[in-house]
Symmetry: C2
DNA sequence: GCGCCGAATCGAAGCGCTTCGATCGGCCTC
DNA sequence: GAGGCCGATCGAAGCGCTTCGATTCGGCGC
């Protein structure tokens, strides 16, 4: 193994000079810098991470708690992970993979052992049992998702309430007077998944404000339950003309079922969904949608963590405003 | 931060004694061990990972290269990751997340800096460009998947050739004389994805051996291309009665299309697939299938890596034998 | 009773890096 | 021309751990 000592000897300078060339924390003459860099390249030197961590008290590693057994949307989970890893690398951090399933103790462990400098937690729910534990972690923690009680913690999330309002507003602007929300399976609401509840609240608030007739239906995946749900929605007698869907798993089945019933989208029924863009464009009908900007949220989470590592900083909640993309699955009434 | 020094003082022993209690590398009297353990608990001591890595020259971290932008099967990717992380933790290792997308240099980097002790690479393809680079990594490397040229590298994978033979054999045993393989999209074969080619080879070999009429069809996802593919399969004039499917993405669409054509499974057509068990059971027709035993493969990969870390060990290829689960989607002819 | 052995423990030397103070010229100022 | 200052560099003290002798001590064989 090539050490800094050998680089120093090769370049004819002291160890500390090499270190300062690497870190840029003191001024070094151009000439010396060049020689050192040449030696580093010539010898193929790579600083030892353990030694660096020990001396500097910084591991340059971020702990990331990922839901691996998630019943949720895997592509979105992957998008988050991928943008977090990429952003972390941009800031010269590596990512240590912790699993939600292994429990909240993991975050403590890696921080206590100085394996990581900070923690990012994905898939945080409304009444997430991990939150109290996370509050006691002695390092910056950023949550992706917003628990009800986020006192003292930093969070990043889509503004689901705004998304709910926005989708209702979109339909209302087109003249729809009677709409329905097709939400997540009952289990999701019972679990108190934060975003589902927030979207629902936004949906209802805007419906009331706009004086629309609005019904709410939670819907389990599966051909039969989708059909049953649709029966509910359509035969409630409200003459529903607009559908807000917040349940990616059933989108495909729903559209198929509509087609089977010879209901045209958007002529007979306008449909707007909250789902990833790639899903919205790959369905039998291209859907007007709001997407979860996973890339962006991940990058923001990393930035928040990095900021807090540089200097301490009060906890902060950042809610990203939804962006709606029209794709023709909604039309004026 | 509590250090080993404070533990030693608290327990009234030397630093090295505490270290030996922790590592068990020298014998320590019961009495002393007890006192030290009490002190550790009382003070809430956690060994500093950087210091440990520096002194012992072992990070107790595994680098895992994950395909994050994979167009493949995300649930399976997740199963791999999840079993690898769990197995690693069982062996007291942590997992550093590296992405396939960031390139093969990442493996080099983390090893050169001693951030990880070994590397596990997922989603290795037939002519994987990463392989030559990986061969030069100065640490144990285990591949999940088998490149054509795996000289000097350790690999773990399902025996796809055996899986192909087994599925053909299953249909042949039931009396089918004319069968078809519905394979992956053309792109997968062009990319030379190892497992697709190996399954195909097994399929063809066993078909020949059993003297069956066998055709091969690659199939892109999407409602239309599935229908077109099915036209190909059925109207080729061979009177096909059995279908081997190695293309998880189209399974659902395929079964729907069969239903649309009023072809009953298994009365009119026997179908056997290679897909995860949960997919096999959640489709409109429960499928007889061979699954990719991701859990097991991940665990084996970790074990191989850990073994090679304990003592060096020649490269080795481990191919797991396929297990077929009957679910009634195939019947005698 | 002496030497020897093994079990239990200690002390100290690193592991490879960061960082703080000190040093050393050269140059500017008055 | 002395004093002061600043940029560039060096030396050494850790960071918290592992590990290799060395040491101590009680018991054992003869």
């Amino acid at each position: 193994m090539i050490t800094i000592k050998e680089v120093a000897r090769h370049a004819g300078v002291s160890i500390s000079t090499v270190s300062y060339v690497l870190s840029g924390k003191r001024s070094i003459s151009e000439e010396t810098k060049r020689r050192v860099e040449q030696s580093i390249a010539a010898l193929g030197y790579h600083p030892n991470a353990g030694a660096r961590a020990l001396a500097s008290n910084r591991s340059r590693v971020l702990g990331l708690v990922v839901p691996l057994h998630s019943d949720q949307n895997l592509p979105v989970v992957m998008q988050f992970v991928s943008s977090i890893v990429a952003s972390a690398r941009d800031h010269d951090y590596d990512v240590l993979l912790l699993t939600k399933e292994a429990g909240p103790g993991e975050a403590h462990r890696v921080i206590a052992r100085s394996m990581a400098d900070a923690i990012i937690v994905m898939d945080v729910e409304s009444a997430d049992p991990r939150v109290p534990e996370l509050r006691t972690v002695d390092a910056p923690v950023v949550l992706l998702g917003m628990p009800d009680d986020h006192e003292g913690l930093s969070c990043v999330d889509l503004d689901f309430a705004a998304a709910g309002r926005r989708m209702v507003g979109h339909l209302a602007d087109l003249g729809h007077r009677s709409i329905a929300l097709i939400g997540s399976p009952p289990a999701v609401y019972e679990r108190g998944t934060s975003y589902a509840a927030r979207l629902l609240a936004g949906f209802q608030r805007e419906s009331t404000r706009r004086d629309l007739t609005a019904t709410v239906h939670s819907c389990a995946p599966g051909y039969d339950s989708v059909a049953a749900c649709l029966d509910d929605v359509l035969h409630a007698g409200h003459g529903i003309t607009g559908l807000v869907v917040h349940n990616e798993a059933v989108l495909g089945q729903l559209l198929l079922e509509l087609r089977r019933r010879s209901l045209d989208v958007p002529a007979d029924l306008s449909v707007i969904a909250l789902c990833p863009d790639d899903v919205a464009v790959s369905l039998p009908v291209r859907l007007t949608s709001i997407s979860v900007p996973a890339q962006e949220l991940g990058a923001i989470a990393v930035e928040m963590v990095v900021t807090r590592l540089a200097q301490d900083h009060a906890p902060e909640v950042r809610l990203l405003q939804p962006r709606l993309t029209e794709r023709g699955s909604t039309s004026a009434r």
